[in-house]
Symmetry: D2
Subunit: 479 residues, 4 copies
């Protein structure tokens, strides 16, 4: 997963991009990058790690101009190298071009084979480079036509930002799998246009969300303002529902729906679908921070107290020294400590957004029991995660997903929980759909149950894909 941010028409464009990326930091901490333009040239800086550590005031000072795009990249299974950091910047016949990409191309292998056979060289391990090759090879005159021609040849999920000396172009794939939204802010006498993966990025810089970018829409932002085009054949919308479950920040809205409110709705529905025996000794606790809204919803519906039964440390970083002599639940304890005062002697319902491998959940259940809980009931505010994502979220392979090979009872037994309950797929989709319907999309469209991608839960993949050959993209391993 990644996050993208773009701004056009602001005297401190790079600084604003830096702040926008900071607000999107949860979408990727592996690397960060910004490319700006002063209308004549492009200027870039990319760095491994977080935005704050990778961008000094000196670095930002090398990024002049009133327009910029930025990118944060999630840590991926493959090699973590600066050369894979984005935006990807190239020179080609028409000038310079920088690209920031959130998503994943499903036909990348075939594309690359075709392009390499023609003589193209690859300097990164990213599918974004193929998009750039296609744009450079297009015979069209205008950049927007080149981009449209290139993107008709690719399949998959993409929210893309392009920056040249003159324009900022934003494109969302026809199925609108990954989020992208448009905002604006006053700036001097004019208006500054901004685009971002999530609306929370607008809040930090004092911008206002105008709307979500529509499925298949291309926004051409220039000194002439924002122009909207729809260069692609229409496809059914397939919004990634996992953004609501886990990925997006709770203070963002997607298609008019508050992520926080939808998570509370998941919790309420979960309490109805997977109730726990009521009683004075019942307490509902979240796995912080992502489980908090669902736990509030669950507690509300179950009429049981909501408590912070796990205290999260603010000081956990990447690397940590583990003692040789093992400590029970060590890895989790560094981040979460059970709050014995609210757990001891209680029947505890612990709410989390999902279970991936199950190892962390198992440690949490044991920690809660060690802290004196009489019972531990695990409730998950989404269906079992059974299938990998091919559209841009980094999930483990199927074999690592505990729910792909274990029943709920088996999972409960593995976690050493008294019970485990998942939200149903229908409950999940209906919760989002009804809130979205109530919000009323600007386009007037009413989402159906088919408007979402939930392949990670259902295995129902909206776009076919070719699994990558082993190590295909990593022949040249480079730092």
């Amino acid at each position: 997963m990644c996050g993208v941010f773009g701004i056009f028409g602001h005297p401190e464009a790079a600084n604003m991009a830096y702040l926008g990326l900071h607000a999107l930091q949860h979408r990727g901490q592996e690397s960060a990058g910004i490319v700006s333009s002063d209308g004549e040239r492009l200027f870039g800086h990319r760095a491994m790690g977080r935005v704050q550590s990778g961008f000094s005031p000196t670095d930002l000072a090398t990024l002049p101009g009133d327009r910029a795009i930025g990118h944060v990249r999630y840590s991926t299974a493959g090699g973590s190298h600066l050369k894979n950091a984005q935006p990807l910047g190239v020179d080609y016949a028409r000038g310079s071009l920088a690209v920031a990409h959130n998503g994943n191309l499903t036909n990348h292998e075939a594309l690359r084979d075709r392009l390499e056979a023609r003589g193209s060289i690859y300097q990164t391990a990213s599918d974004t480079e193929s998009i750039v090759h296609l744009i450079a090879m297009s015979k069209k005159e205008e950049l927007r036509d080149r981009i449209a021609e290139a993107l008709t040849q690719v399949e998959g999920a993409y929210s893309l930002l392009f920056l040249t000396e003159r324009e900022l172009i934003a494109v969302r794939d026809p199925r609108a799998i990954r989020p992208l939204c448009l905002g604006e802010m006053a700036s001097g006498s004019g208006v500054t246009h901004v685009v971002a993966s999530e609306s929370t990025a607008f809040d930090l810089i004092g911008a206002r969300k105008v709307r979500d970018v529509a499925p298949g829409e291309m926004l051409i932002i220039s000194a002439d303002g924002v122009r909207s085009e729809f260069p692609f054949a229409q496809e059914p919308r397939k919004l990634c529902i996992f953004e609501h479950v886990y990925f997006a920040r709770p203070d963002s809205t997607i298609q008019g729906v508050s992520v926080y409110e939808v998570r509370k709705a998941f919790g309420r529905r979960l309490a109805a679908e997977q109730p726990v025996e009521p009683g004075d000794d019942l307490v509902v606790i979240p796995v912080p921070d992502s489980g908090v809204p669902a736990a509030i919803g669950f507690a509300d519906r179950a009429r049981a107290p909501f408590e912070m039964g796990l205290i999260r440390s603010h000081y956990v970083g990447r690397t940590f020294i583990e003692p040789q002599q093992s400590i029970r639940h060590f890895g989790v304890r560094l981040k979460l400590n059970p709050n014995r005062a609210v757990i001891e002697g209680k029947r505890v319902v612990v709410i989390d957004d999902s279970i991936v491998r199950g190892t962390t959940s198992r440690k949490i259940v044991k920690m809660i029991r060690d802290a004196g809980a009489r019972e531990v009931h695990v409730r998950i505010s989404s269906p079992p995660t059974r299938w990998p994502c091919y559209y841009g979220i980094d999930t483990p392979t199927r074999s690592e997903l505990i729910a792909s090979s274990h029943s709920v009872d088996e999972i409960s037994s593995y976690l050493t929980a008294d019970s485990v309950g998942y939200l149903s797929l229908e409950g999940l989709v209906e919760s989002v759909r009804s809130l979205e319907a109530r919000a009323g999309d600007a386009s007037g469209a009413r989402p159906s149950a088919e408007s979402y991608c939930h392949a990670c839960f259902s295995g129902s993949y909206p776009i076919p894909f070719t699994p990558a050959a082993p190590n295909r993209q990593l022949r040249m391993v480079s730092g």
Copy 2:
């Protein structure tokens, strides 16, 4: 404020100290240090910043032995230099000695004048160095007698850990102002003894809290086990109540009282003392994370929904680049973003633990109102902070404390709030006292309303003090 940790009888003593300090990181991020011993020599490492950044595996490998003490130091007004980092380690006639100190000596100026007149030299800006001089000058034979003799000459608040080649000695001042507790864990065939500022440090390493160290108690921990002595004249207990209000972690217990539960009790009492007109449009939100327990208590008593109306960023570090063109509420926004979905159109009660200067609270109130709140009622789970602390907590000078010169109405007006309400001093003390009475101290003592230091709220200082001459301790400014 600082945190201390000690361990005796563990094969990975320095690693455990590292983890213990990590759990106490909230008590100080300016510097961290560990001194270990293998029974023959002492080995030390100190570094600026957090434990994780300052201690690499290589650093820890230079700290052999089965006993260690550690210290984390809070950022103070004075110069921030490595030489002020603790533990302070010296050689003297009897061998080597390391000291870690949480607290503040009120007669330090007089002590230092006396010692300098005798020919003592000072290499740090810390009052801890005077304690070491007094120990080195004592004519007693045994270290515990030297320490006792030294400490009878000092006044103030101290929780102290001493490490020599043979012993770990822990001392808590007779008024027990700063917390200190004793724990243990099994280790191989024997038992490992641990001491720490807060019990949460025991949780991380899998140790069990045995009890709080008693007022005026000295624990001598050696290969012979733990011996307890009371070398000082008895004084009335004066536990710092601000530890409960803000400083301690919610998953710690102090004198048997859960910090989390006491904060919820503050919230409930606050709802009773300073109610807000009920109604369906009322919502209670905390300033995260410290305001969460009180907000849960307040919401429970006020029968209003508890919501996360401010979303905290996990990625805020020390330095940040601020744009030249100002952004409304920028400094606060980096850390907290209003969650419009739960605020818009609501009457909002926002719960915080205290107001210091008022500038941050003012920004929060404005942000909440900008996000659509109809009313903003500020409720504070402690009395107005009017007086500086001379016993180890770094507070601004009186003139900077908004409550020292403004009435509650004036504060409300400054904050642009619809109302402001503080918990009463009596409500504060009674909340702690009744929970402590219920917990039942091991000593059987029943705390009275006089058992707490609340000078920062009341101005009632239990120990007289001499304000330091300007810059007295900082003549030698050194890196």
Copy 3:
């Protein structure tokens, strides 16, 4: 200017490349890089700065395999960015390919226009990328044929190393402008082949120089040994004479000629061409270290004592803090201090290899006079530097070269010297030619006066060139 090193068939190929680059460090300190291969994949690491600071043992451990190429890059006028560091590594239809390049292509602009028009994208500011595009686009089957086809389309100076999973290919341009030599060393039961810009790189790793690579020669090094091919049309040899004057290390040999000996010969001839009035008070001093051999030769011929009249500091690094209040000759003083004991009261002949802008020489002359010299005579062991190099050496533009617009008398006056004397072009060429003739090239060829490129002195450029359009290669300015 840059340096290249390659090795094939050594169990510690990357470590050896690291040492080889260390020995070539004088050829470039801007960046360093190594790409290795284990026969299946390529592995790369590149870093800004020197080899020693950019390559940790951990970095080297990521470079497995028994073959490797490396590159050190000189600080250039244009942007100094990691993406311009070499070797350049790409994936293309046939696998992976890494390239290290010393030299400069004179038809790069035209090449790039042609390639971009075809749809090629550029991710670096280097002409090396065009070579890779041409190789990727070739329809030939074998890499060596692709390389030959690509290089017939380029013009200019190049010593190139290519590494694939299977082969190391070394190519020297038909005019042999930049140096490149072949060596070997025993390794276990087999033989390890090495190539390097200068023979001094072989000394450090205990290898033996076999011979210089011939003009237009391509060496294909694989598990089958070394095969030599000559795929290009023959051209007159044009060895860069500035390598002998300044660039190469004195302990290297080029075409059989010791750089140290040729510099001594320059000094002797200079003493004959530009004598200074003899006398007991005459002393000959070098500008260390590059001026030492010529000064020894001059002193020998002039029968005057050679002394170290300028002491060089070993501790000068990149950045240095300059006091606001100016110090006379500060910039030079940090590096060189006059040795008053051998200068005071003397007539001093100071020997340097060349004068570029004249500012440093002027400071040196003044420093020597301040130290008590009665006269200061500047003698330069090459002709006036009047023309920029287009074949790989980074020289200032013509307008910055003092000799391009000033007569020797004017230069002498600017330097405040008593006299200035340069070696004649004929003296320079004859000195090299006669030593080379004596050395006897393996090929039996006798060098003529036309066998050298001395364009920087004579303006006689052996290959036509198109000056780059302003900023042409820097449209995309990226970090």
Copy 4:
């Protein structure tokens, strides 16, 4: 060994100290420190490593005032910790005091026992701390009297700089073992006074050497100018002759004698005492850089050509990666490469200043022979080094000094040299003495053969000493 620098009355005192220390960097690279004063407080910064890496412009900006002292410290056998870096800065009854010390106290163990028994604590492993304790304990009123009283209790070698808010005091021990000199420079309307271990530090900042500080002299530098006192009983002068042999920079003068000239004199005398059979095939080469002046002198007297037969790399840093598969003479090769062109087929005389363990010399001899030398004759411009120094130079223990247990023939055999010849002790002393007599000390004193300490060669120690108890100063091992 260490270097000290002091300055009084300069608007950029800390910057000048930084430059002065840079010029003294050869005297110590373990740590560097500066303490400045603005007349009211002292400000310090110390760092491990070299001056340039340890002092950023930001660091220097924290050191205001017009007076400063600085120190560079040599890497010692014991622990290398920041707390041992100097200047040592303390607060005591009279204010603040900083000390920079070059030398070693021979009665330090006894002093420390006495002071610890009195109650003194030690925070460093350095003997300098005892001096500060003695000053703090003195009952005298004036600092200069306190210092004099303290120093009458210490024995050994010391060149000391003290800085307080008001004065800079410089002291050289009565035997004048370590060098110290006084300089001055114009600054605005007044005069700036400077003191330094070597005169080369004055050259860099544009100051003029006034004179060497006299044996037992104390200089009190304040706003009133420089006052000279002689508070100690007179002792015979015992100038360290090893400064001339190796330690000092060749462009320094000590007691009026140019270090460069005295080294040339060593070389000439060595050629007379230890001649090598003359012949056309004889060449004299130095081990650069320290052997250069002696080699010039030797070649001159022997009428043989001086050549740079070993080329020194400018890029050798602290750590280097060594290949697992050993390379002949690897450690030396990184720094020195034989210049085959001047060695092959020759009888080579290689000149070095001293032989310590013999391991490096052995590698050099072998490298020279491998490069084709017919004979290798080692000539050393000082007598055999047989005894450790107790007065401030870090030498190995006796058992590690090859000459303490081997005859010259045995050393020659170990080095695999054709012959080895040392300068005689008489030759050494006479060379210095005659130049010093010629220079004519300001005091008019004529140095005798007894005016030098040559204990490292002769074992004739001018001051008795007590060897330190094992690990005595390192009980508290701290970072």
